[in-house]
Every structure is written in C-alpha cells, then in structure tokens.
Symmetry: C2
Subunit: 155 residues, 2 copies
DNA sequence: GCTGAAATCCAAGTGCG
DNA sequence: CGCACTTGGATTTCAGC
C-alpha cells in the first residue's frame, strides 16, 4: 500500500484520537500525542489533503427525528428500462443513507431509515417502485442494531 | 414525539451545520445562527446531554488502511446451538462495522470491510463460520458505493 | 435562555533548526 | 519535520436581565 507507508505511528495516534471524539481542540490532540500543537495541526492538514481524512461528522440519534426504523432493501434492476438517472434517484429517496451496487445480479443494496413500517412501505411503494428501471425490491427490517460504526481498525 | 417538541429551529440549524462539518469552531456556528457563542455552547451541551447528539466522528478513507472492500453478509443462526456470546463474537470479527438483527428468519446482517476478497473469505471461513450457533452465511460484495452517509434529514 | 464582558486558552502562520 | 513564538480569535464562565 503506497499511501499507507507514509502514515506513521503518530498519524495513527492522531487518527485514533479523532475516531473517538472528533470535536476536540487541536491542542488537546497535541497533548495526548506529546507534540507541539503546530506540528499536529500540520499533520492533520496533510491527512485531509491526502484524502485520508474525508471529513468530520456529528452522530445523531435517529429516534427523535422520526428515523428510528432502519431497513436494508435489495433493489433488482431491469437494465433494459433503466437510465442514467437511476442511481441518483435511488440515492435521493427520503431516508436513504447508503446505496451500494452489489455483485451477483443487476442489483443495488439500499440502507434506508423511516419513522415506522407504514412510512417505509409508503416510500417503497410510491417512490422506489415507480422509478424506471426498478424491477423489484426485497426489504429486510432491522429489529435491533447491535453495532453501527464507521470506525476503522488502525494498526 | 416527546423529545422532538423540545428541539427548536435554532437547534435544527445548529445540527445541520454540524452535520456538514463537525470540527468547526463554536464561534463559527454562533455566527451562522446569529447568536452569542455562549448560548450556542449551552445548546450543544444540552443536545449532548439529552442523547440527541451521540458523538463526533472523523470519516476516514478506508482504502489506505486495507479496508477498501466492503461486503454485506447474511448470517443465519441455529438457535439450538447459539449462546449468549454470539452477538459479541459477531461484532468483534475483524472489519465489522455494522451488525443488525433482521426480521424474517433467525438472522443477522453484517457490514464488514477487508482489504480484498481473499482476506474477506478468510475471515468468513476461519472466523465467522467457526462461531457456535452460526448455521450459514451469504455474502454480497460491494462493487461500487454510490452513497454512504450517516446524515439524517432534519426538517 | 440569552447577552456581554473578562480571563484563559487556542489557531494558525512564521522563522529557525 | 518539529518547535517556539506571536497575534488575533475562540472558549468558557458568570453576572444580570
């Protein structure tokens, strides 16, 4: 891995600190890695420039915003009737958090959130299945989320 | 929604700003919502206390860390041989980012990352299928990720 | 719950090693 | 690359309304 060779131990420490809690002062990061704040700032800036750090997000509890229900939807595509807008239209459906093209069939996997099953059903019937090129869908409702992180094991 | 009634317009504005870029100065948030920094600070603290803000994360590019391949794995469980450690053992498999219990059968849906297909296969064979209570698995490899966000539509 | 002021602390650039 | 220094700005607390 070309990029990885240039990520050293201190970078890993910095990234681990930011993975735990991203919204802390740069000076605090510097203290934890035992370096001057300006050095740490420079490292973070370079990690951002190199595309290793893609951004910083707040993690919100979906419940209070009427997004307490999660589901995964297998979307089967009919290549004959699909057009170039298909991916965009899928991605823009209300509540869609992830959209992946998956191997094995002409299909997409969608992660979507809604307030409840009724509302999810509405989106699937009225919005998803009316998109040209969508042949069928198969939905798996999430009963319980055991783990849900974006964190990557560094090291 | 009980909690939601107490989230007002300014809270929504603050959350939207933080959803775009969480690691910005509090004073900058205050400017954008037209309030004193101290007032914004107090609002953010309360949103954290109430569990509406769950935390702040850095979003890392998985590629340079040998996690460029993503996959979704349907795990079928045999309730007769499963024990209480099952969920923990699934969640602790290397590369697992999400673990959901799903409706329709005794199954879990796993989102997992690895460097490549060979390494993923290794984890599934040597680690997943050797967990007591795991009956079978069905893996969908991600060819292309169109959208991948944790963002919630506020409004 | 907000503002404004005060004290402390931080950000971000520069020059030096 | 990292550090020390510096200035302009940010954080955080608190009184007062």
């Amino acid at each position: 891995m070309d990029i990885k060779r240039t990520i050293d131990d201190i970078d890993f420490q910095i990234l681990n600190i930011l993975q735990k809690k991203a919204r802390i002062p740069n000076a605090e990061v510097a203290r934890q890695v035992g370096m001057a704040p300006s050095a740490v700032l420079e490292r973070i800036r370079k990690l951002e420039e190199r595309g290793i750090i893609e951004g910083y997000e707040v993690r919100l509890n979906p419940e209070p915003f009427g997004q307490g229900l999660a589901a995964f939807v297998q979307v089967e595509i009919d290549p004959a009737t699909a057009n170039g807008d298909l991916e965009t239209r899928l991605a823009e459906l209300p509540g869609v958090q992830e959209l992946h093209q998956v191997a094995g069939g002409d299909g997409y996997l969608l992660k979507i959130r809604a307030a409840n099953a009724r509302q999810l059903g509405q989106v699937l019937r009225d919005r998803l299945l009316t998109i040209p090129g969508v042949r069928s869908s198969r939905t798996q409702i999430v009963l319980n989320t055991v783990k849900e992180t974006r964190r990557i094991d560094l090291g």
